[in-house]
Symmetry: C2
Subunit: 240 residues, 2 copies
């Protein structure tokens, strides 16, 4: 893991860009001497890890005493998009405009992303936990499909916050039953890109004894800020 | 409003029993000089306002700086049950055991309860707000059906936490669309006495721009304690 830049922010949080093999990422750490529990923050939709609303969440969470890491998944942020990804995204836009079914397109877009991203997260996790000032246990926050596979594959993940979950690949829908860690499942009630009933069915499927659904009105990017605070309290119960 | 007993609890909360006309109640107030926002806490199922898990919530909430009031609705707690109520409850138990539809029985039990309880709450609210140390704004927490009618009828209610909501009288299902105050809607995912889909439909129907659904696994009385804390933070955003 090579740090390529660092910046001390006005809330005392240290933001460091890193690369690990082909994976670019950012690590935010709090201004404290005690080892900080680690939260892996993952997103989708081709977004850059420097997207302002993702950064705002990461910074707030770091300021609450967590180390927070985000990476650009394959095809995201600074990383090249494959021709297959570009094609699938174009197909998706066209199908959504036309009101056609999008399941198979999501499957072809997200299925391979999960396969590629999860090993990168595990390698990143090894490197992060070797840094001074970062201790276990580890939480995961963000995109549902990657989170399901990572939570099933990676015993170091102790609690997870999942977002959306309307379109999740078939493989991860099956794997949901294997998850037993505490979950906070966040749903935007009117998320045009994530059918509500599928998200509710997925919540129902998780094997966890402690799982909580939070739903708020509005579309995909309309999550109220208080849910970021609720997420931090959820992690506080399980990681601190 | 006549206070009939008072007890200073070890968390500094003052618990006072009162009567107001035929309505018996309890008021919990925090040990602080500043005027406390008021939360009306309502329950159903024939429970007594001294039921330990209700009292634990009221005390915790009062210790966070709220005045909390509970009353025994007609047919609840210390108050006589009518022959019609006794019959409806017996019918309900029999129908549930037999797996028969219970909608009309709930309608006959809860519909009249809402009609009788809401005016008592409004009279109680007048009396509570006239006491020293209690200021507005006012929140409501608990039983959904009474809460819907009270929130529609009573402009002093500024935010509400509703619990369950699977069986709500037809009149209150209609009134749900008229509600515009911030809501926290708490659902037990496996509540045998409150069909999940109906509760979700009710959440969908509320007219409020800010409404949040929290769902947890388990039956009617299995709500995790952290939801009491979440409820207090919800009221903190809107009443403090």
């Amino acid at each position: 893991m090579h740090f390529t830049s660092e910046q001390r922010l006005d809330d005392g949080v240290l933001a460091r860009a890193f690369t690990l093999g082909e994976t670019p990422g950012t690590l935010w750490t709090p201004d404290s001497a005690a080892p900080a529990p680690l939260i892996l923050m993952a997103h989708n939709g081709g977004l850059h890890r420097r997207e302002p609303r993702l950064v705002a969440r990461a910074r707030y969470t770091a300021a609450q005493g967590y180390a927070v890491a985000a990476i650009d998944h394959p095809g995201h942020g600074d990383r090249p998009r494959s021709a297959a990804d570009e094609q699938a995204r174009a197909d998706l836009r066209r199908a959504m405009r036309a009101g056609e079914p999008v399941d198979e397109i999501f499957e072809s877009l997200v299925g391979p992303l999960v396969e590629k991203a999860v090993p990168e997260w595990r390698t990143t996790l090894d490197a992060l936990l070797a840094l001074p000032g970062i201790g276990g246990p580890v939480g995961y926050a963000g995109m549902t499909a990657i989170g399901i596979r990572l939570a099933v594959a990676e015993p170091r993940i102790a609690a997870a916050g999942f977002f959306a979950g309307g379109y999740v690949p078939r493989a991860q829908r099956e794997e949901a039953r294997q998850i037993t860690i505490p979950l906070l499942f966040l749903l935007q009630w009117d998320d045009e890109g994530n059918p509500r009933q599928r998200a509710l069915d997925l919540f129902d499927a998780f094997g966890s004894k402690e799982k909580t659904l939070h739903a708020n009105p509005g579309g995909h990017v309309g999550t109220p800020w208080f849910e970021v605070e609720d997420g931090d309290r959820f992690f506080g119960r399980h990681l601190k």
